[in-house]
Symmetry: C2
Subunit: 299 residues, 2 copies
């Protein structure tokens, strides 16, 4: 990972290990016959992901001096939602993907029914984790976390975005519609990851808005790079099936803007994201680094 | 509905109308391209169901003098979870049902991808509704509702039960395993429906436990009758595909106990459920009536 400052790489890998530990602790395990479900939940989450969303949550929480357990539980809950969405998106009826992070997708490793149920259970446990007093002593804070995550991931957020993405396979979308689609599909969950740190830390409105603006730009930059990787990357580099957008004849930032303008746009958004962090006087170093990392990443 | 006391029938139909109104108000609506998702969410919920779970929530809430809006929102949230589970259970990869309440199932009316997403969005909005201050002014109560619903419907509850149900198609289960399966698959959500009224009303532990015990017996009675209807009912009477358990060679209360003992067991459980309500000195009349209704129902 030569393009990432070594301190960010170390911090991200530390965070990824901590989040994997938290998920391992939080996800169910048993010898009961239904353990197949638990195995599928674990397989779909404990798979060495980058843990970008948890890292954002942890980094934002650190700005406000939030305790480690609170931050980690919140980060793990958000990752459960992210992983559930990948499991369902990969299903034959949706993107029909066989490969995810270099491994068979959950429905390939298990079966379709188990994949659907594992996704459902991961979505459910996310809210159980957030509502637990161990996530924050103040129930008002826990309710705010539940509300924020539900809004970001529901019909007006991630799920709505995925619906739009399916519609995009048969309908020509313009750049405005694609921006809205991507904001819903990936942007809102990225935004709530960052925002959750501020909610945990009972941050001021000024700080909350700064983090929201940051996350909005970051999310869009992230998605443009995702489209570029799908268009230009190899399955080996990215660890997932590539070229699917072109195959599906789907309009993306890359097909509309072309690769060069798309990359420039991502860089611009990344710089803009960093500017929003000015209010933190250098206390948001990790978030700044992430904004750079997101446009330099190769997978 | 001659076997139901007319006052219960009227109360249930009033409650069903109120819940349908609440769902209509709470579920998203728009002219955006993703409105197909919203339509599927609405189609899967606003379909004239019995609203048994909402009725239990509303009836339990009334014992403790809970305000109408709080009780209705909670009842609607639970119904969203129930309806999401039906949508996902009906999918081709699961029970592969074409018919639900006399109408095409969501994936038949729309398509599989939309059905998966509509289920996901309904599950998500349930928690959004519960965490909203309009559901209860005390955030501690809202967190308890979120926790209770997540536990009842997640990997150790409804979703785990559905996993067991799929396993039951290929594995021989004994009566103990089937009781556990049914308790998880349908019992926990029925229990949390009743319990939620007590949570909203900040009920004493004694009252909470009485309602739990009631709901446990009711849930089992409900399921035994469900199995009987599947074995003996017609598609016309029940409004859904019947004979599926036998077709799948699945062990149920009816295949193990035989129809007569199964019906006796359900009646016994119903009487036992009513006894648990003794602590309420006749203030739980609707819940008593429901316990009778559940064993007498024809669909």
């Amino acid at each position: 990972m030569p393009s990432v400052s070594s301190s960010l790489a170390a911090a991200m890998s530390d965070a990824a290990a901590a989040v994997a530990g938290a998920l391992d602790h939080l996800l169910p395990k048993s010898d009961f016959p239904e353990s197949k479900l638990f195995e599928a939940m674990r397989y779909g989450t404990l798979n060495g992901g980058k843990r970008l969303r948890p890292f954002l949550a942890l980094s934002a929480a650190r700005i406000f001096g939030v305790g480690d357990e609170c931050a980690l539980r919140t980060a793990a809950a958000i990752e459960c939602v992210h992983c559930y969405s990948l499991i369902h998106d990969d299903l034959p009826a949706m993107d029909n993907s066989d490969l995810r992070r270099g491994n068979p997708t959950v429905h390939k490793k298990f079966d379709e029914a188990t994949a659907i149920l594992a996704g459902d259970a991961l979505l459910t446990i996310a809210f159980e984790i957030l509502a637990d007093p161990r996530t924050h002593e103040d129930p008002q804070v826990r309710c705010r976390l539940v509300t924020a995550l539900a809004r970001a991931s529901g019909a007006h957020g991630m799920v709505g975005g995925q619906m739009l993405d399916l519609i995009a396979e048969t309908t020509k979308l313009d750049i405005g519609a694609i921006t809205r689609l991507q904001r819903m599909k990936t942007g809102e969950l990225i935004a709530v990851s960052t925002e959750s740190g501020a909610i945990l830390g009972k941050a001021s409105t000024q700080h909350l808005n700064a983090l929201r603006a940051y996350a909005h730009d970051l999310g869009l930059a992230f998605q443009i790079i995702d489209d570029l990787l799908d268009a230009e990357g190899t399955e080996e580099e990215t660890g997932k099936s590539v070229g699917r957008d072109a195959q599906a004849g789907k309009a993306t930032f890359v097909t509309i803007l072309g690769p060069e303008r798309a990359r420039n746009q991502a860089t611009l958004l990344s710089e803009q994201a960093i500017q929003h962090l000015g209010v933190f006087d250098g206390r948001a170093k990790h978030l700044e680094d992430v904004a750079r990392f997101v446009v330099d990443r190769k997978n």
